[in-house]
Symmetry: C2
Subunit: 133 residues, 2 copies
């Protein structure tokens, strides 16, 4: 059962290599942290802040490639957690069909934020990954 | 008239923020440098060296999104140079049609290297951007 989440916090450290985002359950109390790379963290941060760039950045290119090929990003789903690695799919609607594209949650989040698509996490993954803070 | 190029050198500096790639004319003498971001430079470098990653990286996601939506990367073309900024398109073949997706040359190069697609530069751009070294 997928649970809808929202981006609550992006933590970017300039002094070490630990960036993470915190997702919060929509209409609920649960939250989970996901470690992401500095590139994806700044990409997500830039989009949340609405910073414009003169040329399309990498995640903008993903969105425009999908749209120019007739697809539409429906949502993203973090669907598995295996040996401390989260797995995700970008779910794209095309000609009435659902195409699931395997990716890292960080890329899926950057794309979802870029096109305002909803974020989902499987209940089983959320249960395992709960933020204890 | 597009000229086919090949990747000749990737220069990554750890001490400043100036990474660039050098493209060389296939079967010719001319070459041109393009400044790229550190993320795209390492992404290109990793692919040239054939380094495998357990999960798809961002440019792998672009390739798989295109392929899962029925497209095939035909090639990339650096088609303009305007106020020191290069412009490029990723050219994707889908259902017999050519779809041109606007992007930065650095992303186009990372995608082209990932799927071994040819690299082209318009003659007029190459004329303006010649490497004098």
């Amino acid at each position: 059962m997928p649970i809808q989440m929202e981006l609550r916090r992006i933590v970017i450290s300039e002094v070490d290599d630990h960036q993470y985002v915190v997702l919060n359950e929509v209409g609920g109390e649960r939250s989970m942290p996901i470690v992401v790379g500095i590139f994806e963290a700044t990409s997500i941060d830039r989009r949340v802040k609405g910073l414009e760039t003169p040329r399309p950045l990498t995640h903008d290119l993903i969105v425009s490639a999908i749209e120019q090929l007739g697809g539409e990003v429906q949502d993203m789903l973090i669907n598995d957690l295996h040996e401390h690695t989260f797995f995700a799919v970008l779910r794209v609607r095309k000609d009435g069909e659902l195409v699931e594209i395997d990716c890292r949650p960080s890329d899926a989040l950057a794309v979802a934020v870029a096109c305002r698509a909803p974020i989902f996490v499987n209940e089983s993954v959320l249960g395992e990954a709960l933020d204890d803070e």
